[in-house]
């Protein structure tokens, strides 16, 4: 497995990406903290936080690529796992507020005092401990994905049907989290966080630290995904993607493979959500919106599914464009995003990373060292 990882898994692009990520993870906090504000290379704190947010989006895109690019499962519900991870972290951050809330209750978060609750619901217990919260950020999405996948894959729900029921799942969770009686802050969600692990969330150093943590998490997740996809198991996954029935007839338990990769992907999405919440300072039911999941799918499609590096690039590019557009030309953003969706599906079915080597080869007239066909090929439709 280790050898396969180095010979087949890590491409040159992968190493370059990891190197760049490591450099960014070290340099950006340094540029923010070590240089004085007047210095031309000084990185303002808001930019650090924004980049950190992009990294968590990239992690979500990576998770989605693992199931969609390598196993052909188009999930329209990954935002649900992301948001669940975010809520787990948000609950920890709420507990850290302690008596500093508006109502000053030592135990209950403000919204519970407001709703006149007398004691902490049982599912909030233990969330004052960081390890528990972090574990829950992985376990809750993981368990939900496992149960959901257990039923869906055994019943051989695939293709469009699976996409639609994942959408139904995130929509149901959206409605559920809007309810005040759920005990997650209802419409307003969880916000007004003060500190994480004793560090002030508003301070530059904490924000730089969170950015570095996001970079580290993304790097580790990338290595994990490369390891999974380059292993024998990864080969079976690609076989499932390209010819599910044939793989089944060859004797592989297709649903087990799908379930494994689906659960891992959901946990990665939960981790992304857990890193996202302390950086943006709020989590509310809006994160469950089906549109968010679809947007994540488009990051993957634009970057190039089945390439791992591509979705990370796609998430970064699209979100950077979104930040720029919504500031400069707010009314044009949806036009641009819509046109991007259409253009990418029509003209770049392999995405940027999947298509560029080929286009480059065409332009220079040389045979490219394009990735092997099986990986670059667009997943055969399940229908």
């Amino acid at each position: 497995m280790t050898r396969r990882f180095f010979t087949h898994g890590m491409t040159r692009g992968g190493w370059v990406f990891l190197a760049l990520l490591a450099a960014a993870g070290l340099l950006i906090p340094l540029l923010n903290l070590a240089l004085p504000e007047s210095h031309p290379l000084h990185m303002p704190t808001y930019a650090v936080t924004l980049s950190g947010k992009y990294l968590t989006y990239a992690l979500l895109a990576l998770a989605l690529d693992l199931v969609w690019g390598y196993c052909g499962i188009l999930s329209l519900g990954h935002a649900a796992f992301f948001a669940l991870g975010g809520y787990a972290m948000g609950m920890y951050l709420m507990r850290q507020i302690g008596p500093r809330g508006v109502y000053g209750d030592p135990l209950l978060p403000d919204f519970m005092v407001f709703l006149d609750w007398q004691e902490l619901p049982w599912y909030w217990l233990g969330f004052d401990l960081f390890p528990v919260a972090l574990a829950m950020a992985l376990v809750v999405p993981g368990v939900l994905a496992f149960v959901f996948g257990w039923f869906a894959f055994r019943a051989r729900v695939g293709g469009v049907y699976l996409s639609i029921i994942t959408q139904a799942m995130t929509y149901a969770l959206l409605l559920a989290f809007f309810r005040n009686d759920m005990g997650f802050g209802g419409n307003n969600g969880l916000t007004d966080f003060k500190e994480i692990l004793g560090f002030d969330l508003q301070s530059d150093a904490t924000r730089a630290g969170l950015f570095a943590a996001s970079a580290l998490a993304l790097g580790l997740a990338f290595v994990l995904c490369v390891a999974i996809t380059s292993s024998r198991l990864g080969k079976v996954l690609i076989a499932v993607r390209d010819a599910e029935s044939r793989t089944r007839f060859l004797g592989y338990r297709v649903e087990h493979y799908k379930l494994f990769v689906w659960t891992v992907s959901a946990m990665l999405a939960g981790l992304a959500g857990a890193l996202y919440v302390p950086q943006v300072g709020i989590i509310n039911p809006g994160e469950f919106a089906p549109a968010n999941s679809i947007e994540a799918v488009i990051w993957v499609a634009i970057g190039g599914r089945g390439t791992l590096v591509g979705p990370i690039l796609g998430a970064g590019l699209v979100n950077f464009a979104k930040s720029w557009f919504t500031a400069a030309l707010p009314e044009l953003w949806l036009f641009a995003l819509g046109a991007l969706f259409i253009a990418v599906t029509l003209f770049l079915p392999r995405g940027l990373v999947g298509s560029l080597p080929r286009l480059w080869a065409k332009a220079t007239g040389t045979r490219s060292k394009a990735p092997p066909d099986a990986r670059a090929k667009a997943p055969a439709a399940a229908e």
């Binding site: 469009v160 149901a172 679809i294 499609a301 949806l334 439709a381």
Partner: protein, 583 residues
């Protein structure tokens, strides 16, 4: 009759509360609720209070009639109330009643409440409400503001208890003898709610005159309520309980329940038994009500999903822009209505009828453009049509937002769609009924088009076997474009109908897209009958869950049920049978 409200503003508040408890979202366009909304100045409130009281009494003063013209007789009769002794005033009340004009109601109402004043300068009579530094005057006939007056300039017209009884009887007689049966009915219902023991004789007289069976029944019930409130004989009361038990609605139940709690053993026993019977029938009516609401919701789901049953169900395009087709249809209705208002004023009822083909054309053409421009390149990649059409939907949404602005647009309700009627104890609003009828008609038309026309035949041929159809000479690209156009056009027609019950905003489509997909998948992709059954059963299930679980939780439960159902039957209720392993 009904208890004279102690102060007018409180009566206004009560009426507002009653009005806002009315069902049907579009009722917010009615005059009653609109009157409740703005922050009320005391005088205007009083004025509205009178308006509302008049409405409750069945004297529809809000319309033109109230301002139509001066009636010198009536004005003189009202002015005459200010003069003379109590005994003379009583005669004059009788004279006013004899005019039989319901416009006298506000003045009598104010007189009973002690709010009718005479201006010393000219002897004119006004309804008065207190304002800082003086009184605010309101004309008793037109109900227009008539300025203010100092405390010394006006004199209260005094009444005693005897006069108050006379006024009550007069008010009852005025409205109960109105020529319009609807007003008499409203008056009878108002008396029923008031449970006024003084009303028995008035009601007896009205019953003797009454010719309309429906009004007579309401009068009987009102009389029974009055008898039960009075100190009449046990036999009469026993008969009254039977009358109310036969009526059986919530109002009657409340009255009988109050009798069941009294100490009179025999009557209480009878009332308890009657109450049990009424509760049983009420439970049945509740079921019927849930079914009706469920069918109503189902028809909305059907409307939303029916176009998608073509584009997604038949063609296999995961059409995320479907909701935007519905939205475009609703905006077409808005545009057509605007044009109608400009070109043929006063015929606004027909705007909606014209909007239907217009919406079909507009959204159909947009659909064909989408098919030609985007979808035809994605035939082999159905999952990717999801992404491309999502892009289309974003562009359409933002386009409409740029053109029409982000706020809601109002599409007026034609007269044949407003109002409601009673079926037993069900209140059925016409707009919901029309939408149910319309959705079924649209469905029938679509089925007929698919099964009986040549175009439908070619659609089915192309979706079943594209290459074979092509080799038989069918122009498959054209059929693809037209099919998508048909699905989009039908979504547009649905949008016209949905503009009657939903806000017309750029986000209209978003709220329907998930439900639409659920309905189509639940019913079975590619099966139109499945879509019908899916929509109706999901609608009814939702409404039966709502009383127990609440609206949001009911929706969540339905979604969870759907997710589980898809595990059990991955191809929906009615799956197309076939041998393909992958399909």
């Amino acid at each position: 009759m009904y208890p004279p409200p102690p102060t007018l503003p409180r009566a206004a508040l009560n009426a507002c509360a009653a009005a806002s408890a009315l069902p049907a979202p579009k009722s917010s366009r009615g005059p009653m609720i609109r009157a409740c909304l703005p922050p009320p100045a005391p005088a205007i409130l009083a004025l509205r209070a009178l308006l509302l009281l008049a409405l409750v009494l069945g004297a529809s003063l809000a319309g033109n009639q109230a301002r139509a013209g001066e009636s010198p007789d009536l004005r003189a009769a009202i002015a005459a109330l200010a003069k003379g002794s109590f005994a003379e005033t009583e005669k004059r009340i009788a004279a006013l009643t004899a005019l039989g004009d319901a416009r006298a109601v506000p003045a009598l109402e104010a007189l009973a409440g002690g709010d009718l004043y005479r201006r010393k300068a000219d002897g004119a009579v006004f309804i008065v409400s207190g304002a800082s530094g003086g009184y605010r005057l309101t004309d008793p006939l037109t109900l227009q503001d008539a300025g203010t007056a100092g405390r010394r300039e006006v004199k209260k017209i005094r009444v005693n208890n005897r006069l108050r009884r006379a006024i009550r009887a007069a008010l009852g007689a005025l409205t109960l003898s109105a020529s319009d049966p609807a007003r008499r009915l409203a008056a009878a219902e108002a008396i029923l709610k008031a449970r006024d023991k003084e009303a028995v004789e008035t009601l007896d007289r009205a019953l003797a005159r009454e010719t309309v069976a429906e009004v007579a029944a309401a009068l009987q019930a009102a009389r029974a309520a009055a008898v039960l409130a009075s100190d009449r004989s046990a036999e009469e009361k026993s008969a009254a309980i039977n009358v109310l038990a036969a009526r059986g609605d919530r109002e009657a139940m409340a009255i009988v329940a109050s009798i069941a709690a009294t100490e009179d053993q025999a009557l209480a026993g009878q009332a308890t038994a009657a109450l049990a019977r009424m509760e049983r029938s009420q439970a049945l009516w509740d079921v019927a009500r849930n079914i009706w609401y469920g069918l109503s919701l189902g028809s909305v789901l059907l409307l939303a999903a029916i176009g998608l049953a073509i584009t997604f169900g038949v063609m296999g395009v995961i059409n995320m822009a479907h909701g935007e087709m519905v939205m475009l249809g609703a905006y077409t209705a808005f545009m057509v209505q605007g044009l109608f208002g400009a070109l043929v004023p006063g015929q606004i009822d027909y705007a909606l009828v014209v909007a239907l083909p217009a919406a079909f054309l507009v959204t159909g053409l947009v659909g064909i453009a989408i098919e030609r421009g985007v979808i035809r390149f994605l035939h082999a990649r159905p999952l990717e049509t999801l992404l491309a059409t999502w892009g289309v939907s974003l562009i359409l949404q933002q386009g409409v937002r740029t053109l029409f602005g982000p706020t809601n647009r109002e599409v007026g309700t034609p007269s044949f769609m407003s109002g409601a009627f009673e079926l037993g104890q069900l209140t059925i609003t016409y707009n919901r009924l029309w939408i149910l009828v319309f959705s079924l008609a649209l469905f029938a038309a679509l089925i007929a088009a698919m099964k009986k026309t040549r175009f439908g035949l070619t659609i089915r041929a192309v979706t079943q076997n594209r290459r074979m159809a092509a080799s038989m000479g069918i122009r498959t690209p054209l059929v693809d474009a037209l099919t998508f156009g048909l699905g989009s056009g039908i979504a547009g027609i649905a949008g016209v109908a949905l503009s009657q019950i939903d806000n017309v905003s750029p986000n209209l489509g978003q709220s329907y897209i998930i439900d639409s997909f659920m309905v189509v998948v639940f019913g079975g992709v590619g099966n139109l009958w499945g879509t019908l059954l899916g929509a109706m059963s999901l609608g009814i299930a939702n409404k039966f869950l709502e009383p127990f679980a609440g609206a949001v939780l009911a929706k969540i439960l339905v979604l969870v049920f759907l997710i589980l159902f898809i595990q059990k039957r991955p191809r929906g209720l009615f799956a197309l049978k076939g041998r393909a392993v992958e399909a």
